[in-house]
């Protein structure tokens, strides 16, 4: 098959932007697709249209500027929906399906929030911290009224800090983490290699507390209201609530890699998530398909940019534009920087383990699209369902419009806990292309 482009990159976050610029500078033709209106990804969302307020923003602005001044072909508001063997890629753009054949494909699809199903989380007025952050960054929507944040993880504190600095009001934070678990402490010395990370996290918490935001450490939370959220119940105590933002950390977005035949994934017990199996350069086990950034394992924005550049160099080698020695030489400082960025990860991962799913009551809905409860999934396990895919056939969980994007991690965890086995032994949802819905009409237009 002749190719239309050397390297096709999906996702214009830090990994995708850095990879695109590096690959182009090595003479590769590059096509960069992203669902959003401009570069930045989730972490640097809307970066070209807001002033850089901190170091992270400055990183993003620099990456975006480098991308804009490069000869990389960018397509925004473009949603990839299929990758076929042989490098053929399909996406939708302005209501029309398009395709191209690429020499290499680099997926920089980032992370997605791990859902935190609590009783009442499907009520209007309950949303995720990630969604609130998008609203804050793109539309300047600041929290007003009785806004509560519940859960755990670095992003929760980052959003709280951003919201407070933007002049938003928070009624309080319900911290569902369990302090510093002993297991985390043994990772602390290594984490100190990257002190910036830890100090930043502590600074976010301090900034939020200094703004007078109440922090409640709690075990249980329920959302209640008639037709919409009216109050939350925290360990038995009621608080009035207009908006509740939930967060339980992030996991790699593997929706695309899991749909690619021959692309192996491994269970990461520490981050409690599935990750595509990658070599040191970001090659997956599927020929010609690579992954860089949080989509290959949570490492944060800076690590993602380094991994993106490494993947770009490897793509140049694979396409015969540089020798192995050249690649290794150019990769030297990137790899050192990447390792330094990843040093704090084991500590952070141990600090914020996901909430145990045994805490999810039977009557709580975990698949929102098909309204399947945790109890229903547990019942399917007692009927002999061993994995996510059998449970899907039995209960329709994961069959709705989100195709398991949202509920996948929780369904998987509930099955593992109900069976009492290592989550690594429970298969995740098999995803199918199209990984994002397209219309029959759009697909029909591709028929020759």
């Amino acid at each position: 098959m002749s190719t239309d482009v050397d390297l096709l990159i999906v996702g214009a976050g830090p990994a995708g932007m850095a990879a695109a610029v590096t690959a182009r500078s090595r003479g590769l033709t590059v096509l960069l697709l992203d669902e959003n209106a401009g570069p930045g990804g989730q972490v640097h969302r809307g970066i070209e249209h807001r002033a850089a307020k901190d170091e992270q923003d400055a990183d993003g602005a620099k990456l975006a500027a480098a991308l804009r001044s490069s000869a990389v072909e960018t397509r925004f508001r473009a949603t990839l929906w299929a990758v076929e063997p042989g490098g053929k890629v399909f996406w939708s753009e302005e209501g029309a399906a398009r395709s191209a054949v690429a020499g290499r494909i680099l997926l920089c699809t980032g992370a997605t929030e791990r859902p935190l199903p609590i009783p009442g989380w499907t009520l209007p007025g309950v949303m995720t911290v990630g969604a609130a952050q998008i609203a804050l960054k793109t539309a300047g929507l600041k929290p007003q009224g009785d806004v509560w944040i519940a859960g755990q993880g670095p992003l929760l504190w980052l959003y709280a800090k951003q919201a407070v600095e933007a002049g938003g009001r928070l009624a309080g934070i319900v911290d569902l983490s369990h302090g510093i678990p002993p297991a985390a402490l043994r990772h602390l010395p290594r984490a100190l290699m990257a002190p910036g990370y830890l100090l930043k996290g502590l600074a976010w918490q301090r900034r939020v507390k200094r703004a007078g935001v109440r922090v409640i450490h709690a075990e249980e939370i329920r959302a209640e209201g008639e037709g919409r959220l009216a109050r939350i119940v925290v360990d038995g105590t009621e608080h009035a609530a207009d908006l509740l933002l939930l967060h339980d950390g992030v996991v790699p977005n593997t929706q695309i890699t899991r749909a690619i035949p021959g692309c192996a994934h491994d269970w990461d017990a520490v981050q409690a998530c599935w990750k595509p199996r990658l070599d040191a350069w970001g090659n997956t086990t599927a020929e010609g398909v690579m992954v860089a950034g949080d989509g290959g394992g949570i490492g944060g924005a800076r690590a993602a940019a380094h991994a993106g550049r490494l993947a770009a160099l490897e793509a140049a080698r694979a396409l015969g534009r540089m020798t192995e020695d050249q690649r290794n030489a150019e990769a030297g400082t990137e790899r050192l920087a990447l390792n330094r960025q990843l040093a704090a990860r084991p500590f952070l991962d141990a600090l914020f383990p996901p909430r145990p799913v045994t805490a999810i009551p039977d009557e709580t809905i975990i698949c929102r699209c098909e309204e399947v409860t945790a109890g229903k999934v547990r019942e399917a396990v007692t009927l002999g369902c061993l994995g996510s895919n059998q449970t899907k056939a039995f209960t329709r969980t994961g069959m709705g419009p989100c195709q398991g994007r949202v509920c996948g991690p929780v369904v998987h965890a509930v099955i593992a806990a109900a069976r009492g086995v290592d989550p690594a032994q429970v298969d995740p949802f098999r995803t199918r292309f199209p990984t994002k819905p397209l219309t029959l009409g759009e697909l029909a237009a591709l028929a020759e």
């Binding site: 063997p85 069959m399 029959l440 009409g441």
Partner: protein, 369 residues
């Protein structure tokens, strides 16, 4: 007690096991390499269709239809069978002529289930059909069922009848023992039996080869689309005459689109892959026949691997190199409807050495010429 091994836990294997286990004196074990319904049995379109069958298949298909009409009596579950009819539409006068010729051919053989209808009647049956459709061939009483539910119902019924189902057990060899019985070897151990059924679908030629028999048969990987739920607009299962499509709306409101457009097949790795350039044709034909679905969002696409014989009708009959081994495979993408009757026929062949059910046309001898 006689022992029988059924190789393959798809619908044909389970049906064979069910019918045989209900016969007195038979102890039946099903060996399934992965899990029951893993390939085409679990992921097909669920068409319960007599309409448009190869003339050699009509008789067996009629027997199967009788069984479908009271499927609860056979397996204790209705399998989601909806007898909403099947309709083959003509998109121009030439196609309508073909359908009329076909109906005459079927009538000449004594069958009356296929009927040509005019444009007004097509509109009545299919209010959402595109205006260019001029007529159709209709089979009332046909319809569709839920494939996975059907597989599970046959599994349960077979087990209740006394059959043992072993999943995760792949066959590596078949040999004759000194005592004259057949030995089926798996990685976990060896099973000895008087009779063996080869219902291994896309992998059945491999089983035949283990018995020293070459039967010409390839594989296919038909692709399917399912859309989001739409308001009810279509009751029958619909296909065109001159192009490849099968189209139906489920009770849940989703639209299931197939028709035999081929994906990429890899029987060695037991996988198949959707090729969207090919699948786009199914989407285009669907949108041309039912303009109202053009804006419907696709939820999922998939493929399943199935055996395809050179003449696209199955192989049913005793092995010519290893007596006691009976083949039932090669249904070529339309074996779902036949499964209750084909299983009964194979069970009779195994238990009595003969059957009155109309399976004679399916002998592998037809490839000898």
């Amino acid at each position: 007690m006689n022992r029988a091994i059924v190789i393959g836990g798809g619908l044909h294997g389970l049906s064979t096991a069910l019918h045989l286990a209900r016969m007195p004196g038979w102890q039946v074990t099903v060996l399934e390499r992965r899990h029951v319904g893993r390939h085409s049995s679990g992921v097909n379109a669920g068409g319960v269709r007599r309409l448009g069958r190869d003339l050699r298949e009509i008789a067996l298909s009629m027997v199967a239809w009788e069984m479908w009409s009271n499927i609860s009596a056979l397996v204790g579950d209705d399998c989601g069978f909806q007898p909403g009819g099947q309709v083959k539409v003509a998109e121009n006068a030439a196609e309508l002529g073909k359908l009329e010729a076909r109906a005459a051919q079927v009538r000449a053989l004594g069958w009356t289930h296929e009927e040509v209808v005019d444009q007004a009647e097509v509109r009545r049956l299919l209010p959402a059909i595109a205006p260019h459709v001029v007529g159709a061939l209709v089979c009332h009483g046909d319809g569709s069922a839920d494939p996975m539910r059907t597989v599970m119902a046959f599994r349960r019924a077979a087990q209740e009848a006394g059959a043992t189902i072993i999943e995760g057990s792949g066959v590596t060899a078949i040999e004759r023992s000194g005592a004259g019985t057949l030995r089926v070897v798996t990685e976990e151990g060896t099973h000895e039996a008087e009779r063996v059924a080869n219902c291994a679908g896309a992998w059945a030629t491999r089983i035949a080869r283990m018995a020293g028999e070459e039967i010409p048969c390839g594989v296919k990987a038909s692709m399917m689309i399912v859309t989001e739920r739409l308001p009810h607009f279509c009751t029958p299962t619909v296909g065109p005459t001159g192009r490849a499509l099968s189209f139906k709306q489920t009770v849940a409101g989703t639209v299931v689109i197939g028709g035999g457009h081929q994906g990429l097949n890899d029987p060695e790795r037991e996988t198949s892959t959707v090729l969207f350039g090919n699948l786009a044709h199914a989407a285009r034909i669907a949108a041309e026949l039912f303009p109202c679905v053009k804006g419907a969002r696709i939820m999922r696409t998939w493929t399943g691997t199935e055996a395809r014989t050179p003449d696209e009708i199955p192989v049913i009959g005793e092995s010519r190199t290893m007596p006691g081994l009976f083949h039932s495979f090669g249904y070529s993408g339309h074996g779902f409807q036949l499964s209750p009757a084909a299983g009964a026929a194979v069970a009779e062949l195994i238990a009595r050495g003969a059957t009155n059910l109309p399976v004679a046309p399916f002998t592998q001898r037809r490839f000898d010429a």
